[in-house]
């Protein structure tokens, strides 16, 4: 059997993360959660997840800033942004720092699977 894929979910809204984490776990993924950009960076450094789902709009350090910091030491880890806003001025920055896609919070969770597939294909190659 293949090694279990480890996912890091980063969002300051616990009420959003909890159902999302449960859903991923039910699909057989290993899930770690973080409620701030700072703890996310720490986890990436120490635990090295396979994929990161990163919320854009967070207090203190937003998703774009967190991504920038992660890219300073981890160039190749696949990141997928999470956002409630369709248009956000910070999104282009995130794209230029290298992301695999964006999941809009209003959409169906099943869309997460296709985003995750793209990221995982990258890992295998």
């Amino acid at each position: 059997m293949e090694k279990q894929v480890k996912i890091l979910l980063v969002d300051d809204e616990a009420d959003f993360i909890e159902p999302l984490a449960f859903w991923f776990k039910s699909k057989g993924y290993s899930v770690i959660t973080a409620s701030s950009g700072e703890s996310a960076i720490k986890i990436v450094k120490e635990n090295t997840p396979d994929v990161v789902f990163l919320d854009l709009n967070m207090p203190v350090m937003d998703g774009a800033e967190t991504l920038k910091r992660i890219r300073e030491f981890k160039k190749d880890i696949p990141v997928i942004m999470l956002s409630a806003y369709i248009e956000d001025s910070r999104m282009p920055h995130a794209y230029s720092d290298g992301i695999y896609g964006v999941f809009y919070k209003g959409k169906d969770f099943s869309e997460l699977v296709s985003l995750l597939d793209v990221a995982l294909r990258h890992i295998k190659t």
Binding site: D12, A14, D15, E18, P19, F22, S35, S36, N57, P59, V60, D62, Y85, D88, S89, R90
Partner: protein, 653 residues
């Protein structure tokens, strides 16, 4: 008296006159001139055998006197000499022994100078000294005195004036070109002489006639000069018949010397004048262009004002209409004929009148006001948005007031439509929301049967977030109410402490999910405030909710209430240990719909409409809300509630 001496005196006078005539006729150093000077010199030498000096003077009766002896030569000969005395304003001339031929020559040439040169020479004695003439002295007035006004020339016949004319003509004949205005000057001189002679005898002397004839040779258009002469004489009051006789007399006169032709104006002078002319033309055309530009600019501005969709009215400080454009005419139901009339007489509607009449007070930039107008039959309502501003001159004096009028009836209708739509939608949302909430709570309370711990956990999340959604929808509803001015404030004496505790309790569950501690510090003995407790709870919910959103896990939120005795108001603050707000974004946090279509700075993203609602509610209580923040170390919102609301006006129903 020695007859011989007297004889010599006569000889002297004759020789001087001869010399003067020779000098004015022949070029210098001509043998005729030289011999005439010699004649004077030899007569003088004869006389100087008897005395050392000889003085020629003019008596009060215009008689020539030499050494106290009146000279009884023929008048016609003496007149010439007397004229020079007159012309130079000389009382007497003294020759002393030792006088040389050269001195005599120089002296005679000196007194022959024309008027211009005489003026330039200045003082006569000085001129003589300049020429090194030591033995001829003149007791006289300066040359300067020779001018038209003082009229020193009182001459019986023709005389000096005519001589001046002759010498001017002579000068002209020696030139190839004339200076500008030279011809006109001579013409004037000639006309003056003719007028003077004509006045006495109705005709002019032959010498004047011949001089004038010569002068005519230099005229470009002889006829024109004659017409001018005729005009001048008839203007002086002479009979037409006499003038005509004179003119035909002049026509008949034959002159021997017929050389002379109109002289061109001296080239340089002409060039200079041309240049000046061109410069003036250029200036004039520049000026014309400026005028044209300003005229077209004015036309353009007039055009713009004329076609503006906004109405424009200008009123002077006395309240009279100065200007109205067609849009304003239509909106105010007035016409162009009302310009100049007082506003009071023209505008009947009272609302409108107060507006146009009242000048914005000092310091007030623009006075904005919405006014409702009813048509005469009261069936239709019009809403005008008016902006008035004082017009000041550069010195800061009020010179009038300009008011623009905007018909915003349609805009207002659309706003009302939007508000109603939003209110409707929000109400519609409530039913499914309540249905969901109730169903979940039935499952969660195990009324429908046992559930697993995980099921309970997620149902709790659902319940919590449904509450959040309800709050958001309530905010939206409140906003529409506030917009429509329909927010009701139900005041009652209430305890601030109770209100704070209730709000903190409501939000504690949410705070726990982030391990945030909410502390409430309420000053003891805080008086009850006359307020709407439900609305103030809403304000606190919004402020604390906002703090929760922006405070990271394990932070602290402090709610404080103190009483400001001086201002007689309660001060309530909510302080968080969140990320803070940048200075430049502080003013924006209370903006309604700030997040629509704008880039959202992350430090205020998600504040939603809660803060603008909080602001409206506090202001309805006659209080004020403010925000202080330091980026990175937290934000503090403070609002005040006065103990006595002096305005005491409740908006809405």
């Amino acid at each position: 008296m020695d007859n011989n001496l007297l004889n010599n005196y006569s000889k002297l006078v004759l020789s001087i006159i001869t010399a003067i005539r020779k000098i004015s006729l022949y070029p210098a150093a001509h043998p005729a001139v030289i011999s005439s000077i010699k004649d004077i010199h030899s007569v003088l030498l004869e006389i100087f055998k008897a005395k050392d000096a000889l003085t020629l003077s003019l008596s009060a009766e215009n008689k020539l006197i030499i050494e106290n002896e009146p000279i009884s030569e023929k008048d016609s000969i003496l007149d010439g000499l007397i004229a020079y005395f007159k012309r130079l304003n000389v009382e007497n001339v003294t020759f002393t022994s030792g006088v040389s031929e050269k001195e005599i020559d120089d002296f005679l040439r000196q007194i022959l100078l024309n008027a211009e040169q005489l003026r330039a020479a200045g003082d006569m004695n000085k001129a003589l000294l300049d020429k090194n003439i030591r033995n001829i002295k003149a007791n006289q007035f300066s040359y300067i005195k020779i001018d038209k006004d003082s009229e020193p020339l009182v001459v019986k016949k023709g005389g000096a004036d005519l001589d001046a004319l002759k010498s001017a003509l002579k000068e002209l004949s020696s030139k190839n070109a004339q200076s500008p205005g030279e011809f006109q000057n001579i013409e004037k001189q000639a006309f003056d002489i003719i007028s003077a002679e004509f006045k006495d005898k109705k005709k002019i002397s032959p010498s004047t006639k011949s001089a004038f004839k010569k002068f005519l040779l230099y005229a470009k258009d002889k006829g024109e000069v004659l017409v001018k002469l005729k005009d001048t004489l008839s203007a002086a009051g002479f009979l037409v018949e006499d003038i005509d006789n004179l003119l035909s007399d002049i026509e008949k006169e034959k002159i021997r010397k017929t050389q002379g032709k109109p002289l061109p104006i001296i080239e340089e002078e002409n060039e200079r004048l041309k240049k000046e002319n061109a410069e003036l033309r250029l200036k004039l055309s520049g000026f014309q262009q400026t005028v044209n530009r300003q005229v077209s600019e004015k036309e353009r501005i007039d055009n713009v004002i004329h076609h503006m969709a906004e109405g424009l009215v200008v009123v002077d400080p006395q309240g009279n209409i100065v200007m109205v454009n067609p849009s304003a005419e239509k909106l105010l139901n007035i016409s162009k004929d009302d310009i100049g009339k007082p506003v009071k007489e023209v505008i009947k509607d009272e609302h409108l009148l107060t507006l146009v009449k009242k000048f914005p007070s000092a310091g007030e930039q623009v006075l904005e006001k919405d006014i409702e107008l009813y048509s005469p039959d009261d069936s239709t309502k019009k809403i005008l948005r008016t902006s008035s501003a004082v017009i000041e001159d550069p010195d800061g004096n009020t010179v009038g007031m300009v008011t623009t009028l905007n018909d915003i009836t349609r805009q207002k209708e659309l706003e009302a439509l939007k508000s109603n739509f939003l209110a409707g939608v929000t109400h519609e949302l409530r039913t499914p929301l309540v249905a969901t909430e109730k169903s979940i709570s039935l499952i969660l309370n195990k009324t429908t049967g046992e559930i697993s711990e995980t099921q309970a956990q997620f149902l709790s999340i659902a319940e919590r977030n449904l509450k959040r959604l309800t709050l958001l929808i309530n905010d939206l509803l409140d906003l529409t109410k506030l917009e429509a001015g329909k927010m009701a404030i139900k005041r009652q004496a209430s305890s601030i402490e109770k209100v704070i505790n209730e709000s903190v309790q409501t939000l504690n569950n949410w705070a726990k999910t982030k391990s945030i501690n909410i502390r409430a510090n309420v000053q003891e003995g805080l008086p009850e405030i006359n307020m709407d407790p439900d609305r103030i709870i809403q304000v606190l919910n919004n402020l604390i909710g906002n703090a929760l959103k922006f405070t990271p896990d394990n932070g602290t939120i402090t709610v404080e209430a103190v009483f400001n005795k001086e201002k007689e108001e309660a001060e309530v603050s909510v302080t968080d240990t969140g990320i803070g707000i940048a200075k430049e974004n502080l003013a924006k946090v209370f903006d309604k719909f700030y997040q629509v279509g704008e880039k959202i700075p992350s430090d205020i993203a998600g504040t939603g409409i809660g803060l603008s609602i909080a602001k409206e509610i506090v202001e309805l209580h006659a209080g004020a809300i403010r925000v202080d923040s330091k980026q990175g170390s937290g934000t503090k919102f403070t609002f005040t509630l006065p103990l006595k609301d002096s305005t005491n006006i409740n908006r809405g129903d």
